[in-house]
Symmetry: C2
Subunit: 327 residues, 2 copies
């Protein structure tokens, strides 16, 4: 699969470079500490997937001005702001293999720099001069905090349903992906049909992306993922592989899983048992298949409306890679 990744990176090279420059320039005028903390989270090897989606969506919608990169970074800011706050909420010490910001600078700075990045994102949205972009961005922010609160309220509770899980990942991930795509259609003055298609693409890509994230939390290892496998479970987060397996399991196996869920300090042996049960009840397979369905939906929306082009192919490759990636 690394072929696909290389293909994406090669095609998106100039866009990704322009996004890096826009990110760096935008942070320059602010207090040293703000730039430093923001840079720690912003330049820690992020994929820039959200701004890239905006730039590519703008292109496929025929945007012909020069502000797409500058605008696109608001979605990276929104993402970084939630990472800062979520790592604190989850008491996660690592982020992409480095210490999380709150572990270095403390909770206060993580909260306040997160607020600053949120505010910066909204200022950039205002700079677009387009009310609909601003509405998209403020709704993303509302949805993300609601998704996180919902997740937090249901921490460690084994009766979380698939429906609730879907609501949570829509709010905390998919709405942001959709917003990055839809905002482009707005600034490009794209016809409604295109705005709708690119929004469906972004939304379904976001859902699949989060599902695969949740899957990799069980199957990847620290070296590749930059954090411990099983971290979600340790934080009391029930995700789809486990939710599905719990529903399918017989009462004995369900009891075993529930006891591991309730014990935050589960041993490596217990985690192995859990993994075996996830396999036995096809929780991992089900998650992957459902993610694949959403990727198919995303691509179908795209292909149904936009003519073949290099940009369209790149968006398709990104969707395929979101599903196939190993970290």
């Amino acid at each position: 699969m690394s072929d696909l990744k290389n293909k994406i990176l090669a095609s998106a090279k100039y866009d990704l470079e322009a996004i890096e420059i826009a990110l760096k320039q935008n942070l320059k005028p602010y207090l040293d500490l703000v730039s430093q903390v923001a840079s720690h989270i912003l330049f820690a090897g992020g994929k820039r997937l959200r701004p890239l989606l905006m730039v590519l969506s703008a292109r496929i919608c025929g945007y012909d001005s020069n502000f797409d990169k500058t605008f696109s970074i608001m979605f990276e800011y929104l993402h970084a702001a939630t990472l800062l706050h979520d790592d604190l909420v989850d008491e996660a010490t690592l982020r992409r293999g480095k210490l999380a910001a709150h572990s270095i600078w403390g909770n206060s700075i993580a909260v306040l720099v997160g607020d600053f990045l949120l505010a910066r994102a909204l200022s950039i949205a205002a700079d677009t001069g387009r009310l609909n972009v601003i509405k998209i961005v403020s709704e993303i922010t509302e949805n993300m905090s609601q998704g996180e609160i919902h997740q937090l309220m249901r921490k460690g509770q084994p009766d979380l349903s698939e429906k609730e899980y879907m609501e949570i990942i829509q709010n905390k991930t998919a709405v942001l992906f959709r917003g990055a795509c839809q905002a482009s259609a707005v600034i490009a003055d794209a016809p409604e049909k295109e705005e709708k298609a690119i929004s469906i693409y972004g939304f379904n890509l976001g859902i699949a992306f989060q599902m695969i994230d949740d899957l990799l939390d069980y199957t990847s290892d620290a070296g590749i993922l930059g954090k411990k496998a099983g971290a979600d479970l340790e934080e009391g987060k029930l995700t789809l592989p486990l939710i599905y397996a719990l529903k399918q399991a017989d009462s004995k196996d369900r009891a075993t899983m529930e006891s591991i869920i309730k014990n935050k300090d589960f041993s490596a042996g217990e985690f192995k048992t859990l993994l075996e049960l996830l396999h036995k009840y096809k929780g991992l397979k089900y998650t992957k298949e459902l993610a694949a369905k959403h990727i198919a939906k995303a691509k179908k929306a795209l292909v149904g409306v936009f003519k073949p082009s290099e940009t369209r192919q790149l968006l398709i490759n990104i969707a395929d890679y979101a599903l196939a990636r190993k970290h």
Copy 2:
């Protein structure tokens, strides 16, 4: 002075009631826990000064539609969001005599509900349909987080200058007061002269309001203030009374003050010594006088542009009360 307060409350009675209703209705559709936490901070006896300023400013600028109350609550949301985050940052256990939200629900919920209120404020700004209102609100949010970060960076450092103090209180308080006033002028399509005057009023009122807050932190007591006197100092926050006294003091007295500043667990006796030195070097008097100058500026801007009216008088009374209040 309670006469002045009663006069204000009587004149603003209907507006304040309408603001309460708007606040309650706006929170209804959200997750139970969100409403509960948000209500804890929003309905804990706040003065509703910021939304009231918006409603009154709109009226004096000739606004003739019905959305002023609905819009005005965005400024209470912004205020509540920062209170939630700041109490956590400051590790303050009390807020208006009640337990702070993070003391009840934990840091995570305080962070996430703060984010939600911030997002809600920006959504309401977007609902105004006025780009300039949105710009005002996103700039307020940026400025507030920068002011808080600046304050945090300089915690416990006795060399904080009056200039830096002014920058901090402008960012964390005055910009929000100004925004509430200016946004009204925008939605009222007021002439530039009026927008400018009401902005000057709000900005100077905000500065004076924060100075008096900082003064009362030394002179009021827990029963009235809802938190311990000397709380700012305990949190390492140097405010104008102390900054001025430090500058005026001889080297021996300065050394005494600095040693108390550095010792977070200062005794009641040490606090008394500090208070005496604040009196001796006129730190309290200087602060009050400077606040009075800003109140004079605020009133002058108002009187210079707007004709006498009940609303103008109410805005003047609010300015006078901001200076004269004892809590």
